[in-house]
Symmetry: C2
Subunit: 898 residues, 2 copies
């Protein structure tokens, strides 16, 4: 027979799954000998069985009876007793905290008879009737699901009659009248009398708490917080204690340290002559703990002792709820407290100093997400705000600048020292210049993994995307949102952490943690206050420990020497992915266009030869910035039409020009380019002529790149540098493809090193970004010196999702319907994509033990994914420069955790 | 030490991998006591080692010496002997027959001295010098790689001088002069004298045979025939016997039955006073075996006896090469003979009748490919032909009709009784009407799995695609090929088995096998000759046996009642895939367009409601045609923009109309549709909003289809029919998607069956067509009553190949470079895609033992793939109607083989 009911003396803090967080901690405090009102917990298992069958498990009723009798015996009162009635609270308490999401009913046990017993026993008639009033109100709303306004309106009406603002102004007769009113409302709305039998009240309240697990609001909250839907909640039945028994009573919440700043010392709010919900409702001004020390020194002393005991016991910041009933302190709840990112780092370091936790444990108390928050500049929270609309928070940070609607204006204005925000319907590789020039990027279309979002994150640049309310007219250089126009030159402010878009300029607060990471501890702690300095030192201490502990190396994705230098400052130990396509944009676009539009081999070869010195110089600068560290360069990957204009736009342009009878070289050029666009047009370019297929189909293309890479490395070597270049082949699906490129590359390496008279080892590896590559990794390993998992593309093909197309429309629905708890482009889908990664790691190393493996998809900077990559045994992760510190921290945490 | 050399008496016919086909069979004949000239075989292993190291394995030389001495001892002659010289032939012989691909050198052992010995010994001076001449010619060409014309020109010149047409007219002096000429040419071209040392001749000839394995021609042949490149060839060294020692000598080839028709009785060609190469060269007219019986009754009797012995021993049609040297029969080669498709079936049935093989063995002697050949109508091979160009043979058959360039003309002309061939640059779903109306389809673009090819094969309609020389101007209703115009109405003929396109009308020969399959044995054997009747009966017998043996059920993909009825006639045991999107074309296009363009829920719902009765009627007809058999209906799969016009075309149209200042309702409608096109535009529709995503995003769409399906089934049930409908959800990647659709479907099923007052079980299953579906099949099985593998899409995502885009351009290069031996869209890629299928089968059945599984991709009709599906344990394959008999046969063969 399952045990569904645990007395508080039976459980402990590690039984959160069974007793919920609140129940487990109440049990823990009980066993520590702290003053907890007696009570018992009904398990989450009972809830799960109830929800599955829509009925209480058979044994539950009997077990509650037994627990209740034991409770009655221990406190010497009986539920519903006419003289000394036992009153209990019924509160939900799930494994993971879901504040305000579920239900509570207080004062169970009061009825028309026992309220009189409470009058006598408490000697406070007003208190007794107010307690009954509260029971009716909560029970009506929570258990009987009568709209809360029915009761609050009646209460307001009663106060209005008295010209009162506070409940305290109502007298006994007012409260008795309210009790009558509430009972009438209950009868009218529920079709039945308020249940006078205390056990019936209790059973209905328990059932209501079970039900509250499955409200739409709670489901939505869990989805957002990634809490599994099937856990269920526990129910805590606890003897009532009262903070509203006069001035020697009161209630409060407190933290063992400041959860906002992390400052040492207890911190809390106290309200005398009040019940818990009054504190939450914010009806009256609260007092500080120091005030309590003045008011009731013994209780304050005991509370301080209890909190110290809890912090020592839990070895972490705790928050507590307490009530003082006529001078007697009662602890109603405790838990490890939530805290801000800054507080998390400070407290973790403090607890190490206090020798309560080890540095390893301290690492588990902070997260990469918190570090990322600390690194972004933010808007001054005190400033006035004029919110225009809200989009998706695609890349955090705070950007202020003049709105511009095209890339070239962005470039020009930025060149003359203006700060600009690039506003586009959506972005494409053409916008890269503008994105580089801009402080921030705002798009009306596209999700968190749209081009704008991905590139912006890669640059560590603020981005808000998919602001659907925004209409962008790039031709008119204007945008509208809710009837308001944004003209070119108007100043706007983007909050990349919230997705908010403001009119005008908001003040930006710089982040000292970013200063530390980029410029070191000494610079960062100058000119900041001691609290901030403590924070920066805490970050330094934990990040250094993560570096010492982690097994994963952290590289960065970087396409330019500037990015590489920045990444290196941020702690990157190499480049995991250099996308060479970005080197074909800007001025060089016409050169690559010549390669594409070429109609014969000679014309193409000439265009390729013109690119060679430019590519070589790119690589020299990149290798220089990463001297002594590995640099993985990916050969050209995207379909060639990406370098050409849009097919529809160009078709319309040419058709209109012809219609107008225009002639001349511009039209001729457009017609020639259109022919190439048509020739290269593909219905699904993601699955088309790209990656290694380009290399095998277009003679000389990969050869050019390989030669440029090897010549650059030779040049560095001859200057006494230490270039460690690696060549990566994209989109391989069969080992034969890799063999063919490898043979070509090795011939070129031999040729160039012979020409240059140097000896050099250039590893040649492949992306694993197609399901087939993962499934045949044991063969591909034959031809690869390393694997780099391209989990973006692997996610696209494994799920059959084009992230550009599907994300915005489908993902919103899928997240709402619970198909995903998080986009698989954000956190790696361990069951599908992750399984392929595991297969490839295992079988690739069976063929070639010790084969070096890394990941260079967006997931390389995602905390949860980093833990996954650690577990499956990768050697490194590579992420955008800005995510490098996050990845370092999470890699350390992963090493500690697993 | 490896044994590289086997005497003919040491091997047997099962050692083909080591000794090659020719060597193994020579050994087998030797051991049967048949008259084989003594000799030995050098193994394929020796060849492989030679090719890997570019040098003979160390032990080979010694082993050849020993084998040669044994040979010399056994025949009592020595190589290069001045009196009785031993002459040997050196012939290649690989595991798989590669006719004419590799090298042969005869008369090794002759030199300036031994030729005189041969003169004396044979008593035939002309013969001896002619033999020397032949050695020089073959050695020069094959071993020394001197162009063959050098020798044949000199020979022709000598004949010209004599005014002779035959070699036989040349006398001894002519031949001696030719020997001198040939030796001079060899010296001049190779820079060295012809090697006089016989052993040197032998070693060089062996090496030349090894080399011949790797000629470009041979590599290409193997790629086409799917023979692995790494096998290597054996070399047979055999005592020379001479058919050119006068009128009592001769040489011939023979078959134990007729390989063209399968007729019982030996069949062959004989040439007296000739060597083997004279027969192949076709210089003189050959005699029949009956002529030989007149000419040399003892030899003919012995040959007949040998052939009977061979057929009994090999239990199959054998072909042989033989030589009669002065009245003595020598067998030079035998093997199981190649045969036509018709002969294969007839011979297999004959051998069963003769109790030489079992019916199971007979099944292994025929193939689905052969059956398919027998089913297609073909052009009369005797008719005159005017070839225009050749494209890809995409769907076999012989189609004759007037060229039309658009779908509506095709429909109109066909409606008035014209036969038409639809000629398009490429086809899209819009062309479906025209494709249905046409006899055949011809496209200028697209590969074997392009839309045109896939749909045509699905319809069993002749199709030639990717005829690159063809320029199609649909507007002008005209096409050009090599300067010739094809105007609308011109008659053309397409051969879908060869890809040839002819001007004018070619006569078509009907296939009696197709008549049999569609109309039964009795109809088919009427009015045909006895030989054809025997063929039809053989097909019937083997197909019936396949049906009895196979474990795989065979269903058909069919979207209409007509297709379903046809498939059923062809033996389909249900419908494995009904694509409902084809029901939204034609007249109903405007209705589905309303659904798509709808701007609010009410407008969309109204459009859906209008579709309901039409869909229901479709399903009623389909279920009626397949009454009593399972019918799997797939919910709407393609992206919605497929039902709308092309974005670029429409953009140009609207831009031009606006430029011209046009107004009116047509433009307004275009503008509205263009807005929808823009809204639905996706960069990669294959990976976009389609399949189950549509169902979850567009309220009411799947509900409409499910209701139509269930109402149709109820209607059938109430009429006493036996509808067995199954609902299939496309593009599922996560079990949650399937749960959501399943919940909706079950609610509708419950509602409709309650309305109609019937009880019915409607299984709900899913396509497994995404890698993630396969990888999480153990979860998806929780919500699926069946799995149907969509291996087309699964191949696209696993490889990251869009078949529409990539096939033509990439596959040609990939096949040439050996990345593929065959397109993975044609035969399932067992290592990648197949591995996913295996995972899903195994893990799906772990969750739900006995889960029904089938395949409905193109691979369901491909012989090699069918064997794969049998092995992994699927329950059925589903293919296009025309492939059903092929699939039945191959499923039977798979059951016998595995």
């Amino acid at each position: 027979m399952a045990k569904y009911v645990y007395d508080f003396s039976e459980g402990d803090k590690d039984q959160k799954a069974l007793l919920g967080g609140k129940g487990a901690n109440l049990a823990e405090m009980t066993n520590l000998g702290l003053p907890v009102p007696p009570g018992f917990t009904i398990t989450t298992e009972a809830c799960r069985e109830f929800l599955a069958d829509e009925a209480e498990p058979a044994e539950l009723h009997v077990q509650v009876t037994m627990a209740l009798r034991q409770l009655e015996d221990s406190v010497g009162r009986r539920l519903g007793d006419l003289h000394e009635p036992l009153l209990v609270s019924v509160r939900s308490g799930a494994r993971y905290s879901m504040p305000g999401m579920m239900d509570t009913v207080l004062n169970i046990g009061l009825n028309d008879a026992s309220v009189k017993g409470l009058v006598k026993e408490s000697g406070d008639e007003r208190f007794a009737w107010d307690s009954y009033r509260r029971l009716l109100q909560m029970f009506g709303k929570t258990v009987l699901e009568i709209p809360g306004e029915v009761f609050s309106d009646a209460l307001d009406e009663a106060k209005r009659k008295r010209n009162a603002t506070s409940d305290l102004s109502l007298d006994v007769e007012d409260l008795k009248a309210l009790v009558r009113t509430f009972k009438r409302e209950i009868r009218e709305h529920s079709g039945a009398e308020f249940p006078q039998h205390p056990r019936e009240q209790l059973d209905l309240a328990i059932r209501a708490v079970f039900h509250s697990w499955n409200t739409e609001r709670a489901r939505l909250y869990r989805r957002r917080e990634r809490i599994p839907q099937e856990l269920g909640t526990a129910v805590n039945v606890c003897t009532m204690v009262f903070g509203n028994l006069g001035e020697t009573s009161g209630t409060g919440v407190a933290f063992t340290r400041d959860p906002a700043s992390g400052k040492i010392g207890a911190y809390g709010d106290y309200l005398s002559n009040a019940q818990g919900e009054d504190v939450v409702a914010g009806i009256r001004n609260t007092l500080s703990l120091d005030d309590l020390a003045q008011l009731d020194p013994p209780s304050h002393r005991e509370l301080t002792k209890v909190m110290r005991r809890l912090e020592t016991h839990y070895r972490d910041l705790c928050d507590v709820e307490f009530t003082i009933e006529r001078g007697k302190l009662w602890m109603l709840q405790t838990r490890v407290g939530k805290r801000t990112a800054g507080a998390a780092f400070r407290i973790a370091a403090q607890l190490v100093d206090e020798q309560l936790i080890t540095l390893d444990e301290a690492l588990e108390r902070v997260s990469g997400g918190q570090l990322a928050q600390l690194m972004f500049p933010q808007f001054d929270s005190g400033a006035a705000r004029d919110l225009l609309t809200t989009g998706m928070a695609a890349s955090p940070g705070a950007a202020v600048g003049r709105a511009v609607f095209d890339s070239s204006t962005a470039g020009e204005w930025a060149a003359r020292g203006e700060r600009v925000v690039l506003v586009r319907r959506e972005t494409n590789p053409d916008d890269l210049e503008g994105m580089i020039a801009a402080e921030g990027i705002l798009t009306a279309r596209g999700g968190k993994t749209s081009h704008a979002a991905v590139v912006a994150r890669g640059m560590g640049k603020t981005c808000v995307c998919g602001a659907e309310a925004l209409e962008v007219d790039a031709i008119a250089k204007k945008a509208w949102v809710g009837g308001r126009a944004i003209n070119e030159g108007d100043v706007i402010s983007l909050d990349g952490s919230t997705g908010e878009i403001f009119a005008g300029e908001l003040a930006v607060v710089p982040s000292p943690v970013e200063v530390y990471i980029e410029q070191g501890l000494n610079v960062a702690v100058q000119q900041v206050d001691e609290e901030t300095a403590e924070l920066v030192r805490a970050v330094d201490r934990l990040l250094s420990h993560a570096d010492a502990r982690r097994r994963l190396a952290v590289r960065s994705n970087a396409d330019t020497a500037e990015d590489a230098a920045r990444a290196r400052k941020l702690g990157a130990e190499g480049i995991g992915l250099c996308r060479t396509e970005h080197m074909f944009l800007g001025d060089r676009r016409s050169l690559i266009e010549h390669v594409i539009v070429a109609t014969d081999a000679a014309e193409r070869q000439a265009a390729l030869v013109a690119l060679l010195p430019l590519q070589r110089q790119d690589f020299i600068e990149l290798l220089d910035a990463m001297d002594g560290l590995p640099v993985t360069i990916r050969l050209l990957d995207p379909p060639l039409h990406e370098f050409l204009p849009d097919r529809t736009d160009l078709s319309v342009k040419v058709a209109l020009a012809k219609e107008r009878g225009e002639t001349g070289p511009e039209l001729d050029a457009d017609v020639k380019v259109l022919a190439a666009v048509e020739r290269l047009h593909e219905s699904n370019p993601m699955l088309g002529l790209r990656g290694v297929r380009l290399g095998l189909l277009i003679p000389g293309l990969f050869a050019l790149q390989i030669r440029a890479i090897v010549e650059a490395a030779c040049s560095q070597l001859k200057q006494g540098k230490d270039p460690r270049v690696e060549i990566m082949v994209p989109l391989v699906g069969s080992v034969m493809e890799l063999h063919l490129v490898r043979d070509e590359a090795q011939a070129i390496i031999a040729e160039v090193t012979a020409e240059q008279g140097v000896a050099m080892d250039v590893p040649i590896g492949t992306m694993i970004e197609l399901p087939r590559a993962a499934l045949t990794a044991h063969r591909i390993a034959d031809a690869a010196d390393f694997f780099s998992f391209g989990t973006n593309d692997l996610t696209q093909t494994t799920w059959g999702f084009s992230r550009d197309d599907v994300e915005a429309a489908v993902f919103a629905v899928y997240l709402a319907k619970g198909v995903f708890t998080i986009s698989p482009f954000e956190t790696i889908d361990a069951d599908g994509v992750g399984r392929l990664v595991e297969i490839a790691v295992k079988e690739g190393r069976q063929t070639r033990p010790g084969l070096k493996m890394g990941v260079c998809g967006e997931h390389g900077g995602d905390p949860e994914s980093i833990h996954f990559f650690h577990k499956v045994g990768l050697d490194y992760v590579s992420c955008s420069p800005f995510r490098v510190p996050v990845a370092r921290l999470e890699a350390g945490r992963a090493a500690v955790a697993h």
